[in-house]
């Protein structure tokens, strides 16, 4: 019995054991199903999410920088190009002792204090990661020297990069402008435009001139490489590649040789010259003297050089052709004559007697002619040829300032020309309305008198005056001045700029004949610009002008020798040629050059000789041969 119980107990024990075993089995099964559910959740329900994460882990998109387009002149001469070179760059995040590193590196290769200053400035500007160049344009030997010692340094890299180069240097600096390193401001602007991604790998962006205005076309479209990377960020293989699209080449309307001739013709003078093809608005030469070395700006200019440039009394950074505003002086007279004819204020035949001064009715104030004693009997033709001030004092007074404003604004005075370059200023063509708005003053009759000879409130830019001259040259039919002749997107895919006619002033032919004839006479014996045009082999028309820098008191006579250089008058000359079938129109400004006939006209002569005859002035004569008459 005892044994029986024991047996029974044994069986019960096994029963309970198996019960618990089955229970365990159920729990195990449930747990395995739980795992399976978890796998289902991860691998089916959330597969897309994890798939994206996995790709994000392994795939980097690396930008491929497109080659920047070239800038060529109208004859295919290269004005901006790229060359590949090596730079030594430092990745600040990986460097502990920056100064020690630079000191060590400068034992290997030459690193100038300028290089270091520039580097430090870039270092402060840049908050993102990446490398910052400390030396560019390394020679092969320098590259080899660094490469051999590479192991000693942390965080340095030698990079092959494309550099921008401007073969014409300061001759075209104000026209072409330059590229510079992309800074925070540029990034913000790119982000606003929504094209920041296109610049992910780019280091440079156009900062001024054509480089800036045509940034979009020149830059091109970045390519991308999808690269598989490992957990350490090293590229393992390229998954796909979208080739970059090189920027378009710009063919300018400019004639680079003409530009050079013009630039050299200035000699040591400061000034500006804009030459335009009057029949289509193409800008043939665009000078602002002095220029500067654009390469200084490409990798960031150091503070000292910047200060020198910025504080120079010659203001080399000022684009005079585009932004300089000067009184037009007597160059306004042909336009005034046309205005007089237009309003019928003066007939061509009407003569005035010039005693050498002008007085307003009821006033004793004398507005003097540049020639003491006067020009005697003067009609409209002669008024232009001899540049008679008295004639225009009267004409302006009779016409009234608002008529004058109305007619001259038709030539584009007081307005931007819309040249394809950023930063243009609009000059100033005064009116009574303007004066009351701007100065809260009424317009005085005396204001009109000085406005009549292009002084007083009048301000023009050399570009504006060149545009107005071109319009006059082309019989009142104006074409949009422009710098780009065509865009070469790719070989065989070029987009030419069609000349855009802006307006037609519908000037009667006889008015044009008179004024243009008088302008031609300016360059002949008896004219104010005869000296510069002695023996000219084509028919040239022009008009001299003088812009006062300081005003003379009543009764005081301007004496060039007594005035400091920077206070001397500016000299103007506007010209077009050949007079019968004009191909070129221009405005020349010589700052503190004195008389238009003696300094500005000879420059124009050299430009015309080259453009029309292919004559290079060899050797380029200095402008100082004072051949002109003492004239306005």
């Amino acid at each position: 019995m005892n044994r029986n119980i024991e047996l029974k107990n044994h069986q019960r024990e096994i029963y309970y054991f198996r019960l618990r075993l089955v229970l365990s089995l159920v729990i195990v099964a449930v747990m395995l199903l739980l795992l399976l559910a978890r796998f289902f959740y991860l691998q089916v329900v959330r597969h897309d999410y994890f798939h994206t994460l996995s790709d994000g882990n392994r795939i980097y998109v690396l930008p491929i920088v497109p080659n920047r387009g070239l800038i060529l002149d109208r004859n295919g001469l290269v004005m901006a190009r790229n060359y590949s070179g090596y730079t030594l760059e430092i990745e600040p995040a990986k460097v502990k002792g920056m100064d020690a590193l630079i000191a060590e590196l400068s034992k290997l290769i030459e690193i100038t204090p300028q290089d270091i200053k520039r580097f430090k400035r870039l270092l402060n500007e840049r908050q993102a990661t990446g490398t910052i160049p400390i030396r560019s344009r390394l020679s092969n030997e320098e590259v080899a020297r660094i490469a051999a010692q590479r192991f000693r340094f942390q965080g340095i890299e030698i990079k092959a990069r494309l550099f921008r180069e401007y073969p014409y240097n300061d001759v075209t600096s104000h026209l072409i402008g330059y590229v510079g390193r992309i800074n925070q401001k540029d990034i913000e602007q790119l982000e606003r435009q929504g094209i920041a991604s296109n610049y992910m790998g780019s280091d440079y962006i156009g900062k001024t001139g054509v480089e800036q205005r045509y940034e979009k076309e020149l830059h091109g479209t970045a390519g991308f490489e999808r690269v598989e990377v490992d957990a350490g960020g090293r590229a393992v293989r390229v998954l796909s590649r979208t080739a970059p699209l090189s920027g378009s080449n710009l063919v300018l309307t400019l004639d680079a040789k003409l530009q050079e001739v013009a630039e050299q013709a200035f000699g040591d003078y400061r000034g500006a010259l804009v030459a335009i093809d009057p029949t289509n608005g193409e800008v043939l030469a665009f000078i602002s003297k002095p220029g500067y070395d654009p390469s200084l700006f490409i990798d960031g200019i150091d503070t000292e050089t910047w200060d020198t440039l910025n504080n120079s009394p010659d203001t080399p950074l000022n684009n005079r052709a585009l932004r300089g505003q000067y009184p037009p002086g007597s160059t306004i007279k042909p336009f005034m004559a046309l205005a007089g004819l237009h309003y019928g204020t003066r007939s061509p035949e009407r003569t005035i007697s010039d005693p050498g001064y002008f007085t307003l009715p009821g006033s004793r104030h004398q507005y003097r002619d540049w020639k003491s004693g006067g020009h005697g009997s003067v009609d409209m033709f002669k008024s232009i040829v001899v540049s008679c001030d008295t004639y225009y004092y009267g004409l302006a007074t009779e016409m009234g300032i608002d008529n004058m404003h109305g007619y001259l604004s038709g030539f584009g005075f007081g307005k931007k020309t819309g040249l394809d370059m950023d930063g243009e200023t609009s000059g100033l063509l005064p009116s009574s309305e303007w004066k009351s708005k701007r100065h809260n003053q009424i317009w005085y009759p005396g204001d009109t008198v000085s406005a009549g000879i292009g002084q007083g409130y009048n301000l023009v830019t050399p570009l504006q005056l060149a545009f107005a001259t071109a319009t006059l040259t082309n019989d009142g039919i104006a074409f949009q001045p422009h710098l780009v002749k065509e865009l070469q997107n790719s070989p065989g895919d070029t987009v030419p700029t069609e000349p855009t006619q802006l307006f037609d002033l519908q000037i009667p032919a006889e008015h044009l004949k008179l004024v243009k004839g008088a302008m031609e006479a300016v360059t002949r014996p008896g004219g104010t610009a005869v000296g510069a045009n002695y023996g000219v082999k084509y028919r040239v028309a022009g008009k001299t002008g003088t812009a006062q820098v300081i005003a003379m008191k009543q009764g005081e006579k301007y004496d060039e020798k007594k005035v400091s250089e920077y206070n001397r008058d500016h000299a103007w000359f506007i010209a077009f040629a050949p007079a019968d079938k004009p191909r070129i129109a221009m405005a020349v400004l010589v700052e503190n050059g004195g008389h238009g006939g003696s300094t500005a006209a000879p420059i124009a002569r050299k430009v015309l000789d080259y453009y029309l005859l292919g004559q290079t002035p060899t050797p380029l004569q200095a402008v100082d041969e004072r051949a002109g008459l003492e004239s306005d």
């Binding site: 075993l21 365990s24 089995l25 399976l36 796998f39 991860l42 490992d230």
Partner: protein, 365 residues
Amino acid sequence: MNARQLRQRFMLHLDPILLAGLGAFMLVSLALLYSASDGSWMRILAQLSNIAVGMLALWVVANMPLHWLMRIAVPMYVTGMVLLVGVALFGEISHGARRWINLGVATIQPSELMKIAVPLMMAWYFEKNEATLRLRNFVVAVILLLLPVGLILRQPDLGTSILIAASGFYVLFLAGLSWRIMLAATLAALASAPFLWSMLHEYQRHRILMLFDPEQDALGKGYHSIQSMIAIGSGGVLGKGFMNGTQTHLDFLPERTTDFIFAVWSEEFGLLGNLLLLGLYAFVIGRGFIITANASTYFTRLMAGSITLTFFTYAFVNMGMVSGILPVVGVPLPLISYGGTSLLTLMLGFGMLMSINSHKQLVKT
């Protein structure tokens, strides 16, 4: 002895069903290691030698008569305890934990030994007291369990201590620990949870916290978890294909030949592969259950049940932590992760299962 006799002589105590399951695991392990190590044959050779050692151990143990197993229980447990105390006093520190002891001849990890020794000791103890089993015996058994678990927890080695605690608990459970006591113990454990929490090391707490929010520290403590979940999830239904796992082959997956090898499998073979692997585990565990159910003595029932359930626990904890439902506690995937020690312990266990199975049959016939 002809070939047939020879085979009989050597295969006598080996369970062909279990052996087939183990063999399948070995193949999976070798293939996965090949992929996880980026095609390193050195890794394969090393694991092959681990497998050879494990198989030898399995064969030896499978051929042991049951009373031998009974006889080694106490010496094995005592030796293990001595070594654990030795580790606590003179152990070598590696990776911030004191787990190894240098015996002059070799450096060993006594906690591995205890994975077998603890359930063996407890099963032996219950067998000895079978006739007069009282609550007092359960208390003694719990003490036998908690001593090594406490020492291992202090090393610190959360993963191993959990596994040993589990294997001991299975012995207690199968030995017939009353439901009331288990309920009371559970309540007590919950009540003392805050205290236990304060006992945990900072890194262990981090691992548990990370379970709830791995994103919180994606590049630090949560990195393992996040990267392995990405590997599993991106594998999808069919997987990325053998040797094509990007998480694996681009170094995003940490410890991919050891603790996280399951993520490699999941990434390359997808949900279908996981189903297959779970099936394989279910197969081996199921065979373990059958052997347990048919075991002839109290000792062998407890031992077989504990081995089977511990094997399951291993697999569950590893897959659970790799798939992000359990904290990262450092438990290898049984029979698949690279490493000799873990494999050896498992093979010893399976050897015992086979011994239990075959010697019972011998008794019957």
